[in-house]
Amino acid sequence: MTIDEENIVLDRLIICSKCHTLHHKVHIAKGKSAKCENCKKVLYHYDERILDSGLALGITGIILFVISNMFPLVQVEFLGHEQYVSITSMIFSLFENGFYVVGITVAFLIFIFPLMILIIYVALSWMMMTGQGRDTTKELLILLSKLLPWSMIEIYVVSILVALVKLIGYMQVHFGLSFWALVLFMILDIYLSKNVHIGELWELRNRIYCDKGR
């Protein structure tokens, strides 16, 4: 058996990311998904419009991300004093107080990585739709899978609520426009991570670029 033949055989298999049970891929109907027999984790989908939705959701995400950084997230009132916080002002005040490690880590986890992931989704979908950037898409997909575990937007949203509960009773608390943008962004981020599987993007990439070369 040649390496090529071996790889064709290997590509018919899939290993569950959660419990590592081996499965043979089967054909599924449009819009359906295949689940792991053992742990019920979704293995793959049949989604014809994965690139369209990747592009649309990516752009929407970037817009929401910009909005969530332009306005205050939350505002508090205490004895006539008003103060607000945004993602950037929060990171700056950590730096001002000398908490560089915390500041840099927080900046990466809730600002730089989430933004990079969105840009990668948009770039990938666009390149694969137009059939250009054979090697770039490969690099981007590798980068994407390394970044995904390090985006913590949903944890941050929960943290905002926890922080506010600590303040309620002492201060008046108002949510800013950016908070709601961030909540929408979080929902979109969860949707993307549930519905766009890295393995499917790789398969699609191989169909788009490698079949052409033959």
């Binding site: 058996m1 298999l13 959660k18 590592h20 053992n38 205490f78 890295i198 790789w202």
Partner: protein, 208 residues
């Protein structure tokens, strides 16, 4: 049509962590046939790296709990709060749900992660004579999912530091926060560097 069942040894199949492709284990150095990432370096190296990360995280866990994670100043008087101290204050104030969230995220999740990772690292060394009841892959997957949630307390401190800095009331992060951030990062590095190939062999009941 190639008959796969005869040629492929199912116990030697590996999942590429980068692109999810299935690869055949041919020895020490394999490069994924789809994304070309190196899947497997050296089991001893990845195990000792995981131990190094884990021990570092454990050492950081001590200052993270001893030193205050935040200071709050009210009209000149300064209060220092450690993680546990903050939970107790919340509990006494009657914010039970929030106290529980922080207790789970900052205390129980890290401890659970330490225990699970140590268990996985020790288990991966011993021979697998009998079938394990616990699926180690599932356990590892769970630690990767719940691990990041211990960042909640750090984010809360960051938000409060950014939000509450008035002349009469001020909240500032404490040195415990730095230790805690590093601890979470190191446990995540440890979880990511564990070689899943060292786990118990996979169940062979699946044929989708």
């Amino acid at each position: 049509m190639i008959r796969e069942d005869r040629i492929i040894d199912e116990s030697k199949l590996l999942r590429c962590t980068v692109c999810e492709a299935v690869n055949l284990d041919k020895g020490d150095d394999i490069y994924c046939h789809r994304c070309n990432s190196r899947i497997f370096r050296n089991p001893k190296l990845s195990t000792s790296r995981a131990w190094a990360f884990l021990i570092t995280a454990f050492i950081l866990y001590i200052p993270a709990n001893i030193y205050p994670i935040l200071f709050s100043e009210k009209l000149g008087s300064r209060d220092a709060n450690t993680i546990i101290g903050g939970i107790i204050v919340l509990w006494e104030d009657g914010s039970y749900p929030i106290a529980m969230i922080i207790l789970v995220a900052s205390v129980l999740v890290p401890i659970l992660k330490f225990i699970v990772l140590i268990y996985l690292l020790i288990k991966s060394k011993t021979k697998r004579y009998k079938k394990n009841k616990i699926n180690q892959h599932k356990l590892h997957y769970m630690t990767e999912i719940i691990g990041p949630w211990s960042m909640v307390d750090v984010f809360v401190v960051a938000i409060l530091t950014g939000l509450v800095h008035m002349t009469t009331v001020r909240v500032i992060a404490g040195p415990g926060a730095t230790a805690f951030v590093l601890m979470v990062l190191f446990t995540m590095f440890a979880a990511l560097s564990i070689d899943v190939r060292l786990f118990e062999e996979r169940d062979k009941n699946g044929s989708s």
